[in-house]
Amino acid sequence: MTVTTLLVSHDGARWLPAVLAGLRDQQRPPDQSLAIDTGSSDESTALLVDALGLDHVRQVRGGFPQAVRQVLSEIDTEWVWILHDDAAPAPGALAELLRVAEQQRADVVGAKLREWPDLKRLLEVGVTISASARRETGLERGEYDQGQHDAVREVLAVNTAGMLVRRTLLERLDGFDDELPVFAADLDFGWRAARVGARTVIAPDAIVFHAEASHRDLRDGGRTAHRREREALMYTVLANSRGPNGAWRWLRLLSGSLVRALGLLLARAPRAAADELAAIAAVHGRPGRLRRARAARRDLGDGKVALAPWWLPLRHGLDFVSDVTSAALAQGRDLGERRRGVADDVDDEDGPGDDSGLLVRLLTSPLALSVLAVLVAMLVAARVAFGSLEGGALSPAPGTAGYWWDLLTSGWHPLAQGTDAPAPSYLIPFALLGSLLLDSASAAVSALFVLGVPLAGWGAWRFARRVAVLSSGRTPSAWLVGWAALAWAMVPVASGAWGQGRFGVRAAAVLLPWLAGASLGFLDGEPDRRRRAGWRTGLLLAAVTAFSPGAWVLAVVVVLAVLVILRVIAPSLARTRSVWGPLLVVLVVPPVLLLPGTLGMLGHDIGGLLLEAGRSMPGPDGWDLLTGRLPGPSAPLWIGALLVLAGVAALVPAASRLAVVACWAVVATTAILAAALSRLEVDLPSGATGPGLSFGLLMIHGALITAILIAVQALGSRAAPVTAARRSAARLTPQRALGAAGAVLLALVPLGGLGWWLVAGDDLLQRPASSPVPAYMTQAGDEDPDRGVLVVTGTIETGLDWSVRRGEGPFLGEDEILALTDVDAGLADDVTTLLTTPDDAVTVALPGRGIEHVVLPAPADPALIGLLDGTSGLSRASTSDRATPAWQFETPVADGAVSGESPWWFGWVLTLQVIALLAVIVLCGPTRREQR
């Protein structure tokens, strides 16, 4: 067996000495060595001439395929061993290749490629190509060579670096395709070889160290390698596919590429996405080239081709998604973790997220047991929320989450007399959650009320740790963090927001710690991290704003205040775009993400943007905000008062005073804003009301808890670390006694709230009451909104109130729509006529307005019953409850009485909202380094 080594070089002076040394050290030296230089501009040629002699070096114009073809005529040995200028063979490589070639009767034998210069990481052990034109090595990224792939086996292709190939096969296939100068030449060759019936095997014991210079863009410093590689791979697939499979492969490649480009865009790799699209364009832009290639391959034969399995691209997609997700989840910790990494290396012994054996930790850690006990207590206290729920600000949930999607995606709602008032934006998270929970809307509400409390605690736990580390540079005590988390989790409970069904406050309390945590990213030194913090904070602020609109107004004030302060104390920072840009992003994102609501409100009452979520409830006054109680059932006063006193006391420790003053600045800003907003009046069709201020309560108490946390953490840092033995031996000093008393008082705040919730917990929540409207009328209304029911309550003596029901409801999300909807004056006149001086005309007019029935829920006024009984055009309708009389209009209802058109802009704005949402989510994601 005779072998000629063919070393192809192009600007490879960096690697050539090692390659030539490898060649020289072969245990089975080649019978002949030829080197081809394809126009290097460095000293490659000199190096080759020095090592091989001038006779054995050729200069060729063109790429790799031309180079090989040109010298092929000079070769007369049985085998050709191709080497690249960046591929250094191990000493036994050629011998092993030849051994395997002989043993396997192979026509092409490939070496195992490992990372340059002599590392253990595997690059390739044979390759194939997938239907989506992806080079498949079958290896994990960065997989170490531990002999796990050391079986001699047949493959589709082997890398040309270290390829041992029969000269006759090279000649028969006319070498490599000229259209593939760098990438995919090996795959195309392997494919063609397989079609003519040649056998390609891999010899894993033959090792070649490969620098992958072209692949890594090292060779010419260009940035086009990725695009060219994609183009080459696509060309390979399209040129070699044959038969009826061809069209299918083309379709799959095209759609796969588009999906891939979209995925890359979503993962913030726009350049890679552009490469993908450019590659498609380039391949399809020259159809003649493809035609020629396919014609040239037509008569090759039908040998078996070992392509990658069909599902491989799907698996890659899945891997990609999970990679991105885990990266996104991991990025939350950036800043605090790094700060702590510098400040102390001792890993904390606490935290619910730690990863030692769960049961062991649980049984041995008092903290874990306490956390478990608190969680159980929370679940027990929230027991009323298991199942469908209503009461206070909370209307019952509809039957399915799809109902919410309909509300969100319709510009016209058949409620009341039909309305184009916008659906509240908080339905987006609710609908998403409901869809995830098997399309159950009430499960989404229950999840918020049952899991919301522990979730708020979890978010607060993470935020408290980060703040404590940031403020002191030291890992905080888990008990302190736990106190802050529980205190925060109890704020919405003790304030009565939980029991009064104020789900807006409830949801804002869950989101706020995450929002605050994201905003800590602004303190990061890296502009990219600050930018991401901006998008993340904006996204979370949009979510909080959807539930509690005061959040955005407060954010505007805070951001402007920060910008002004920056301008005063650090003008250069204030002028840096990566500093002010992300801050402005925070303010712009919520209105854009909540666009249909924002724009829709313009057509009604812009003041509606400031309303609390849910049914109208009395708002808190200044004292309520300070003591953390909302009007209605709430925890005892002393719980909130203790927190305020502790917040004032937090100003005492000097070490943490600056941070505590900053927290008080937040309190002061919130208080001023609340005072200003409280003077506004939102005049809605449903009556004048004040803007929602409950968010201020969360901000004030969140800031107080943070202030106390920082101050206690600072006190803890000052005290010398003492061992348990010394601590127990220590004398009881007045200071120590004071500290202990303070700790007990502090602990009383969350524990008092939890205890109240568990034992006395007064609430307005209940199972949805059955509607006074008979079920058959409700059903008729569900099927056809024109068949409305006029529900009249009250007595003639005390005044009559009426409302129109169309189907079931009103449900969660519809209260706001109805509150914004003007009462139809004509309908109001007709109803007044019906209930005072009914005549024949009105019993015809009301069905024309989509009213089919009149219901007087018990206890009905007998005089009114008599009046309606005596009205011609009305006949009694059956009801299951005798005390609830009902009538039906004898005139049938008019079709389309409540139908109407969406605003013309609605569809566009909805599309824009979806795009904006996707874009913001993408921009929140971790930056993907586009290195190959």
């Binding site: 109208s616 009395p618 708002g619 006054d621 200044g622 004292w623 905000l625 300070l626 009007p631 004032v648 100003l651 000097a654 005073r657 600056l658 505590v660 003053v661 008080w664 600045a665 309190v667 002061a668 208080a671 001023i672 609340a674 005072a675 409280s678 003077r679 009046e681 449903s686 009556g687 004048a688 004040g690 201020l693 004030i700 529900v791 309550t793 009250g794 007595t795 003639i796 003596e797 005044g799 009559l800 109130d801 009426w802 409302s803 009462v823 109803v831 007044t832 209930l835 005072t836 001086t837 007998p862 005089a863 009114l864 019953i865 008599g866 009984d869 005596g870 011609s872 006949s875 009694r876």
Partner: protein, 465 residues
């Protein structure tokens, strides 16, 4: 000393040291927060409902339906006369067109007809319009003409055995009407398809023999619920007393209430039977008291009456109240622990007379509060009783001198009716009940005082918030 002083001076100086600007800033923030919260406007409370009292509008039309039967229909316009225009018309029997009736305010007129008579007052003539059918032959009897006003209750009807009752549903309007009957017996609610959806054609009437549709041996009570249109029910009661049949009308009784008052109890009744119905779902108890001219008295030996849910209870009061009512001016009061409806059937000199519970009538001065037609008979009597407080009262008679006196709670006031009086109206500021008893020949008639229709309440109607 100086050294000591110097040492002391140092800490004092440090104590006097100005606090750090940061703590001042912190204190300022706390101060600003508290101040701002104190300055916060109190949240807008729920919008005050304001005055949602109903408006009153003058009655513009009033329909009264008088059942067919012997005797004549007497129509009266009661209360202070006004200048406003108005007219009264009668439609007798199946007549297509109504005939106008000349009737001045404060006067009465009689129309002799055995057929049903529909009376309509329009304009000012609707105010204070009352009518009743009276039999003035040897067998005195009377029944008031009711206006179609929703549900009506009848208690103590018979549906089998010796007593049978016949229900007539009259429809004053030209379009058909439908009614349901809810029937109660001693055993509880009676269900029968025959009393559901009873239809009455326009301007027509439908008769139901209760012994056919809901045969029951004992007393029954029922409620007429119009399901469509307007209806006026009337009940004719027949007692098969051996040789002769006794017939009388059963008056409509007040809607169930916890206090029932039945004024003008005859003084010498051969028998008196109280019939109560508890239409609710909770069992209750009832106590009977007799309000006489001077005071209230509890009948001896009459313990609390148990009234099971949904059932009719019959109590023979004859002997127990005989002494208490013999003056002939008593009011029987029933106080229940649950809402009850009731009536009392008495036999006086072999003639049947029915008393029904009457709803209290609000006082009104300046115009008539209540009134009624007075049947023509030998002995006629009005019995009044205040329900809450004492007040002066003036009883005006059509065709007689007015009577003045005073109403007192827990006392019955007897007002003699002058000869020749055909109707009366009561002017008092006190809430009261009252009834007229007329006796002559063999018969006794009883008619309750009714609030004089004058105006109508119009609710304040608003969309719900």
């Amino acid at each position: 000393m100086s050294g000591t002083g110097g040492r002391r001076a140092a800490p004092r100086a440090s104590r006097r040291r100005r606090p750090s600007p940061l703590i001042l800033l912190g204190a300022g923030m706390v101060g600003v927060s508290v101040l701002a919260l104190a300055l916060q406007a109190t949240p807008a409370t729920e919008p005050a409902d304001g005055d949602r009292a109903p408006q009153t509008v003058a009655l513009s039309t009033l329909d009264l339906a008088c059942p067919a039967g012997p005797g004549a229909v007497r129509v009266a316009r009661l209360g202070e006369p006004t200048d406003a225009e108005g007219e009264v018309s009668l439609r007798v029997g199946d007549a297509e067109e109504p005939t106008p009736l000349e009737l001045a305010a404060g006067a009465s007129a009689s129309e002799s007809s055995d057929s049903a008579v529909a009376v309509r007052g329009s304009g000012q003539a609707a105010v204070g319009l009352v009518a009743a059918r009276e039999v003035t032959s040897s067998d005195v009897a009377a029944v008031e003409c009711l206006s179609p006003s929703g549900e009506q209750w009848f208690v103590g009807a018979g549906a089998g055995g010796l007593r049978t009752s016949e229900l007539t549903l009259s429809n004053p309007d030209p379009r058909p009407a439908v009614a349901d009957l809810e029937v109660f017996s001693a055993d509880g609610p009676v269900s029968s398809a025959l009393v559901r959806g009873v239809s009455v054609e326009g301007r027509g009437s439908t008769r139901l023999d209760l012994s056919e549709v809901v045969p029951e041996r004992g007393e029954i009570a029922f409620r007429v619920v119009p399901r469509q249109g307007r209806l006026v029910p009337s009940v004719r009661d027949t007692l098969d007393a051996g040789k002769a049949q006794q017939r009388d009308w059963l008056p409509a009784t007040a809607a169930p209430a916890e206090v029932l008052q039945l004024p003008a109890m005859p003084g010498r009744a051969d028998s008196s039977v109280l019939v109560l119905v508890n239409p609710g779902t909770d069992a209750g108890r009832a106590r009977v008291t007799i309000t006489g001219a001077e005071s209230e008295a509890v009948p001896v030996g009459l313990s609390e009456i148990a009234v099971p849910a949904g059932a009719v209870v019959t109590v023979d009061l004859t002997k127990r109240i005989a002494d208490l009512v013999k003056a002939g001016e008593s009011t029987v009061t029933v106080r229940g622990t649950v809402p009850l409806a009731g009536s009392l059937r008495a036999e006086v000199d072999g003639d049947l007379v029915h008393l029904a519970a009457v709803a209290p009538i609000a006082g009104a001065t300046g115009r008539g509060a209540s009134g009624q037609v007075v049947p023509d008979a030998e002995r006629r009597l009005l019995v009044l009783s205040a329900t809450e407080r004492s007040a002066p009262v003036t009883v005006h008679f059509v065709g007689g001198e007015a009577w003045e006196g005073r109403l007192r709670p827990e006392q019955s006031t007897r007002v003699p009716v002058p000869k020749g009086a055909t109707a009366l109206w009561v002017e008092t500021s006190a809430e009261h009940v009252g009834a007229i008893r007329a006796a002559g020949g063999k018969g006794t008639a009883w008619l309750p005082l009714r609030a004089l229709p004058s105006e109508r309440l119009v609710a304040d109607v608003q969309p719900a918030r």
